[in-house]
């Protein structure tokens, strides 16, 4: 039953991808940024689906099981504020400049802004390195989820293989338009299924009030922030969602917007989407303490799946599996396509490997790189350790700390290639420094103060950008005018 529902869902996804491919024009711009024709609703849904991973369903409930309701303020409402702000101030400008100059990637953007090949190449390497574990987490998460909801009947590699195969299918056939359309469907799926799961389980628990009373009787600490979350942690955590401004896959979706006004829906309604997904996840995680108290370590990660198995086993397990697959694939597709775009545009085309690239050859290379990236991630997932999941917040930290470079490109006329390079190198050095000290410690903070490493790395990035820019020769006014009128 469970596998049938999931396979049915995957088939539906492939059909949408195949349908979208009918509209594919034979140009690189159409394949990589949907010909810049995406409308407001699809942009909202695809941006949200791309940004939210399976963590919003499984990880959030596991974290809430452990920490309590404070997880919503830490991870959800901080994104509800910061992400629309980034869309408003950064996304719309990236779209405007990108549309006029015909840019397809962040590396092209940086090269065009500062005229430096080296800074572009440096950024390319950093983006690929930061994105790789993010992809891996999705592929492995799919495998582990399928194994858990089938009670061990399906091996982890099967779930990973299914996800990779389907993503390759619709991304290579429909490009970014196919990805956006499928994501719209998938985002709707995991939003609805998350809510349905919560309603069914909470109803069986006797309603929200009764469930909260039972939690209050045994674990009242879960219904407050209390000592579980340090106020400085909450303050510094607000920098983490800034990563949305430098994710290559989000950048691609920004560039696909039809016009500036297309951004209005994502800017205004993003917090609604966040609440719809995160409130059920957080509440279910907290309520997991009623029937499954005392789960430690990795066992707590499966609290939502245990609750489903207890209250509504067959149908809901299948639907939840489909919902988790939707959340994973709606990120994995955009990530793999953005990497394929970067390899095609920033390396092969930029360095003219094989001469001038025709439109059809760009599309072919884009498809081949998507297949290569996803296949490589699948192979690594077979041997990678589960501790890789701890890397997600580190990946976000790196991306968030690069945002000053993007902001400087859009708003600071005096910024230079030297400043941008200094900021990127500073991020690399500080990131490695903190990573070595903090990896494997979920609550790691700078010197035990509660301040997250992202605050220090971000500040270092800003300082290096300012110093490097002011100490180097100002850029030409004509070049700057293309980005800052």
């Amino acid at each position: 039953m469970t596998l049938t529902i999931i396979l049915g869902y995957l088939l539906a996804v492939l059909l949408i991808g195949a349908w979208s491919s009918r509209r594919l024009a034979a140009t690189g711009e159409d394949f990589f940024v949907a010909g810049r024709t995406i409308g407001p609703f699809v942009l909202l849904m695809t941006l949200f689906g791309t940004h939210m991973t399976s963590f919003a369903l499984l990880g959030a409930s596991a974290e809430s099981y452990r920490v309590g309701i404070g997880v919503f303020s830490l991870m959800a409402s901080s994104s509800a504020l910061m992400v629309p702000i980034v869309f408003f101030f950064v996304g719309t400008r990236v779209w405007a400049v990108g549309s006029r100059l015909g840019l397809l990637t962040q590396v092209q953007f940086v090269r065009a802004r500062w005229g430096s090949d080296g800074v572009g190449l440096l950024l390319f390497v950093v983006l690929v390195v930061l994105l790789a574990p993010y992809l891996l987490i999705g592929v492995m998460g799919g495998g582990i989820t399928l194994q858990q909801i089938t009670d061990g009947a399906a091996p982890p590699w099967l779930g990973s293989l299914l996800i990779c195969g389907v993503v390759i299918g619709y991304v290579t056939s429909g490009g970014l338009r196919g990805t956006a359309w499928v994501n719209t469907f998938q985002t709707g799926m995991f939003m609805v299924l998350g809510a349905v799961t919560a309603i069914l389980i909470v109803t069986k628990l006797g309603g929200v009030g009764a469930a909260l009373d039972r939690v209050a009787a045994s674990r009242p600490d879960l219904l407050i922030r209390g000592d579980a979350i340090d106020p400085l942690r909450l303050l510094s955590y607000t920098l983490i969602p800034l990563s949305v401004g430098t994710f290559p896959h989000i950048f691609s979706h920004w560039l696909s917007a039809r016009q500036a006004a297309t951004f209005k829906a994502p800017i205004v309604l993003y917090p609604v989407c966040i609440a719809v997904v995160w409130i059920p996840s957080v509440l279910l995680g907290v309520f997991g303490n009623i029937d499954f108290p005392g789960l430690e370590g990795p066992a707590s990660n499966s609290v939502l799946i245990r609750m489903i198995a207890l209250y509504t086993p067959d149908l809901l397990a299948g639907l939840l599996g489909a919902g988790v697959f939707a959340a994973i694939m709606s990120s994995l597709d955009s990530q793999s396509l953005s990497l394929g775009t970067m390899f095609t545009q920033d390396i092969v085309r930029h360095y003219r490997w094989g001469g001038e690239l025709s439109e059809s050859r760009q599309i072919l290379l884009g498809r081949l790189f998507v297949v290569g990236v996803v296949a490589a991630v699948f192979l690594v997932s077979l041997v990678a350790e589960r501790s890789i999941f701890a890397l997600s917040v580190w990946s976000f930290t790196g991306f968030a700390s690069l945002l000053p470079v993007v902001i400087a490109a859009l708003y600071w006329r005096r910024s230079t290639a030297t400043g941008a390079a200094a900021a990127i190198v500073t991020v690399i050095v500080l990131w490695i420094w903190f990573f070595v000290r903090g990896v494997g410690q979920p609550d790691y903070s700078v010197g035990g103060t509660g301040v997250m490493p992202v605050a220090v790395i971000f500040a270092g990035s800003v300082a290096a950008l300012a110093i490097g820019s002011l100490l180097s020769k100002p850029p030409g006014t004509e070049r700057v005018a293309r980005f800052i009128p």
Binding site: S73, L101, P231, L269, Y270, E359
Partner: protein, 94 residues
Amino acid sequence: MATTATRRLAYATLAVLYLLHNDLWFWYDGDRFLGLPIGLTYHLLFAGAVVLTMAWLVRSAWPVAELDRLATGSGSAQAANGGEREARAPEAKG
């Protein structure tokens, strides 16, 4: 057209929201409000306040003219083939 004063007010509202996100006042409060723990209800309402603020922002402080100026020009027809090289041109000239 958004006036400078409107924009400044909108941006100041965002700064206030950022401060309000750090609700130290409900940190240890376990009371319930609207059926949920007050620390959770507060942040749910906070998300609602962000929606209203952003709706006002895009209605009253949307930099349409600036964005249009940025987006129009040589057009995206050159898109996949010419854009990057067009942006390189000033360096070659200068």
